[in-house]
């Protein structure tokens, strides 16, 4: 197990370094941050001098090395645009994104699982076909379109919910939450729904596929023969056996949602990390872009590594050291 852990961790570190390298290659195509930082009357000499001071004239290798050395120590520098410490800036935005993702995930489970069960149990019924069709729409509509339509319906026409922002927030230590105030909860509704549409479909389709599999299994047939009522059979016995992959997928998708929340955040002016990143791109704010990419890839790598380790823990066949033994036995 130890060897496995070391190997996985080494892999993770390698992935992070590769992400940093790729990020640095990409930044060169974003343009020149200095042109965005100085005002119209700055002379060419001023611009050149600022570029020199920011270390933008150094070779690619030097810049990369400096970035990695600082990043390892948790120092990502200060934002060109906001002049704030990048880690503080991202730390301030993280709660907003995380709450949004959490609520969106909860919605996707609460809505997606029952829909999945219904479409599996009542296969080929009119309702199930309609839901299936709806799910295709859910997958294919881009989330900014969903967001704008929600705003039009619930903010402009009905006037029930705010179109943008996060409402009032309450600080609990360094964590700011919008869940404890009425305006914060109201502001969360539309972005969370918009972010969860794709996820609902994903959960629904996964549950449906798993349910169809399980419903064919012997124990379900036996239970039915024994006279277990259909609702109890479907919603308790069968569903419970479908949930393992759903939980795994949901865990993995959290990384995705954090990364893709940036579209939703832009539409709803949700002050999260995604919005920060989009603005950093506009202003070529390299320290913020670099830190964001590193953080998101870190979340991905962490989730993947944890899932791998958990699998290895649950299923000994996946461990390297026992794989050989298993092979001998098999």
């Amino acid at each position: 197990m130890l060897a496995f852990l070391i190997k996985r961790t080494a892999n993770a570190v390698f992935v992070m370094l590769a992400v940093a390298l790729l990020a640095f290659v990409i930044f060169r195509f974003f343009g020149d941050p200095v042109e965005m930082m100085v005002n119209e009357q700055a002379t060419q000499a001023d611009r050149a001098e600022l570029r020199e001071r920011l270390g933008l004239n150094d070779s690619f290798a030097t810049q990369y090395l400096r970035f990695v050395t600082n990043a390892v120590q948790g120092d990502f520098g200060i934002s060109y645009r906001n002049q704030q410490d990048v880690m503080v800036l991202i730390g301030d935005r993280f709660p907003a994104t995380f709450e949004l993702v959490l609520v969106a995930t909860a919605i996707s489970l609460v809505v997606g699982i029952p829909l999945g069960v219904i479409t599996a149990v009542h296969r080929n019924s009119r309702l199930a076909n309609l839901l299936q069709l709806g799910s295709i729409v859910g997958v294919s509509l881009p989330s900014f379109v969903v967001g704008i339509m929600l705003i039009l319906a619930f903010s402009v026409s009905l006037g029930w919910l705010p179109a943008f922002g996060r409402g009032e927030t309450v600080d609990i230590g360094w964590w700011s939450t919008g869940l404890l105030t009425p305006s914060g909860r109201q502001a969360l509704v539309l972005p969370a729904i918009s972010l969860s549409t794709f996820q609902i479909t994903l959960v629904m389709r996964l549950v449906r596929a798993e349910m169809l599999e399980v419903l064919r299994s012997d124990y379900v047939k036996f239970a039915r023969a024994r006279g277990v009522p259909a609702p109890r059979l479907h919603w308790v016995h069968a569903l419970r056996n479908c949930l393992m992959p759903v939980i795994t997928l949901t865990g993995m998708q959290i990384g995705n949602l954090i990364a893709f929340a940036l579209v939703t955040e832009t539409v709803f002016q949700w002050p999260g990390m995604g919005l920060l990143f989009i603005q950093a791109v506009t202003f070529v704010d390299i320290p913020v872009m670099a830190a964001y990419l590193m953080l998101v890839s870190f979340i991905f790598v962490l989730l993947n590594t944890l899932v791998d380790i958990a699998y290895a823990w649950v299923d000994p066949r996946l461990r390297d050291d026992t794989a050989k033994a298993g092979g001998a036995n098999g």
Binding site: G31, E35, V38, V170, Q279
Partner: protein, 523 residues
């Protein structure tokens, strides 16, 4: 914090918001956030504009964009012609209660002109400043220079004591990677003070009851919320979540106008949109550059149907321009503002005269995040040039990507918008764009032209203290720019703000800067 405390806190908040209803609140939805609370931290006119509600300069623009006294009550130029003496306004206090004195002015000027300040270009002629007595300051310049007051409208005055206390005498240096106190805190003399700020979410300004001037506004509170997405901004205005935006998207104007509770304020910006030419020996492709010939430049000018662009691309909202500065800018004159009219046949003849080869390929560099409808008018113009037998290669990308190509001469023909800000004088484009690239002049002379005669006119204007003579010199220089077709002026672009019925008075400024101390909100 226990749950009980949270309940109490939210109860208190509710009570507060109950009180807030009696206040007049301007809810401003901008298209972007300010960079920081420190106007000297980033060369960004929007940040400076917003922070002008908190910080003030020695002089300011009034409702007619004429310069009037602000923190300085009066001024004179001393015998030597290069030292300006400012007599400061008595009885002004900063938001923290500190009195405003000459030391504050000197410290602020030193801060903005520091080596590491991204804004030092805003005071091009500044050499030094000195305290004469607690209410008098001398500013020494590098020569006779007529536009110091214009420059000073944009230089915000900080409190020296406050800067010393918080170690902020120098501007934040991004190169050193440390944060500054002034990034998060503000202490000015202006009509509003900062109550709170959450970056990218909300910045709240409250009225300063001790402001030295008689307020013409009745606003108690300004809530600035950036709403980046244009569609969301329009929705927020329609649903009344914001009651003012300084960027109403052009494509949504009919919809906003149709709404009974929204008033659209439309005008023409001071920004003149132009097309520039390369004057180097070769094009970016390495081919010989025909645009050094005036006839070739004129051919491109005659090929453009400005009326078509005005009517179709700009939806009739722009103002077709013949001069390189807008009418309200000093130095402009009506006889400069003539357009030759589109004539593709004449254009072809001019191309032949200049010896431009058939199907000449050249780069046409435009921004995707620059001027109003820039991508569309660039496409239209590229098509018009194709019609006279040229092959422009349209290259559209964000500013941050295009600017290095432009400054390094890696492109040929390019667009440029110039509003003459913050100077509001024709000297601004003459010095920054049309002057040869020497020293601090011609920073935006991307084409690399050089007309010694033009430079002489501009230099003379730049040291002429008599306004009439100076404007005459500037006018002559603009005429030369026009005759030589150094750049093709296209139009002044449209601008649109929108308010809901709650906002009863909102003067629209042609420099596209909201000045909310002239606004009124219904009680």
């Amino acid at each position: 914090m226990t749950f009980r405390k949270i309940l109490l806190a939210s109860a208190a908040l509710t009570a507060l918001s109950g009180m807030a209803q009696a206040e007049t609140v301007l809810k401003w939805g901008a298209n972007r956030d300010i960079g920081s609370l420190d106007p000297y931290s980033y060369g960004d006119s929007f940040t400076i504009n917003v922070l002008n509600h908190v910080y003030e300069g020695l002089v300011r623009y009034n409702a007619d964009l004429k310069i009037e006294p602000a923190l300085a009550a009066s001024w004179e130029i001393l015998e030597d012609k290069v030292t300006w003496r400012f007599h400061l306004r008595e009885g002004v206090t900063f938001h923290n209660g500190n009195p405003f004195t000459a030391e504050d002015v000197v410290a602020s000027l030193e801060r903005v002109s520091d080596e590491t300040s991204p804004l030092k270009g805003n005071l091009p002629a500044y050499v030094s400043s000195a305290v004469v007595d607690p209410m008098t300051v001398d500013i020494t310049l590098n020569g006779t220079y007529p536009l110091l007051l214009n420059d000073l409208t944009n230089i915000h005055i900080f409190d020296r004591e406050w800067m010393v206390e918080h170690d902020s005498l120098l501007p934040t240096d991004i190169g050193s990677g440390t944060e500054g106190y002034a990034t998060y805190n503000a202490n000015g003399t202006g009509p509003f003070s900062v109550e709170s700020r959450q970056p990218d979410a909300k910045t709240v300004f409250v009225v300063n009851p001790d402001w030295w001037d008689v307020p013409q506004h009745n606003i108690d509170r300004i809530e600035l919320t950036p709403v980046t997405s244009a569609a969301t901004r329009v929705a927020a205005l329609l649903s009344g979540e914001i009651n003012f935006t300084n960027d109403a998207p052009v494509q949504d104007l009919p919809r906003l106008e149709a709404s009974p509770d929204v008033n659209v304020l439309e005008g023409v910006d001071l920004r003149t949109v132009m097309i520039g030419f390369p004057f180097r020996d070769t094009l970016a492709s390495g081919e010989p550059n025909p645009f050094k010939e005036r006839a070739a430049r004129e051919a491109l000018y005659r090929a453009i149907d400005l009326d078509l662009i005005q009517q179709k691309v700009m939806r009739g909202k722009s103002r077709t321009a013949g001069a390189t500065v807008a009418p309200p800018i000093p130095g402009y004159s009506e006889d400069l503002d003539t357009v030759p009219g589109a004539d593709p046949e004449a254009a072809k003849a001019l191309l032949a005269e200049a010896g431009v080869p058939e199907g000449l390929e050249f780069e046409f560099n435009c921004l995707s995040d620059g001027l109003v409808n820039e991508e569309q008018f660039c496409q239209a113009i590229a098509a018009m040039w194709s019609r006279i037998g040229l092959s422009p290669k349209l290259d559209v990308a964000p500013r941050a990507v295009q600017t290095p190509k432009r400054t390094q001469g890696k492109t040929d023909v390019y667009t440029l918008g110039w509003a003459t800000l913050p100077m509001l004088d024709a000297y601004s484009p003459l010095l920054q764009i049309f002057h040869s690239k020497v020293g601090n002049s011609g920073v935006f002379n991307w084409g690399g032209w050089s007309y010694p005669e033009l430079d002489a006119l501009i230099d003379a204007a730049g040291s002429e203290l008599d306004t009439e003579t100076r404007l005459d010199l500037e006018n002559q220089a603009l005429r030369m720019v026009k005759d030589e077709i150094i750049m093709i002026p296209l139009h002044q672009q449209p601008m649109a703000w929108a308010v809901t019925g709650e906002v009863t008075e909102m003067p629209l400024f042609p420099d596209n800067k909201p000045r909310l101390w002239y606004a009124q909100v219904a009680e």
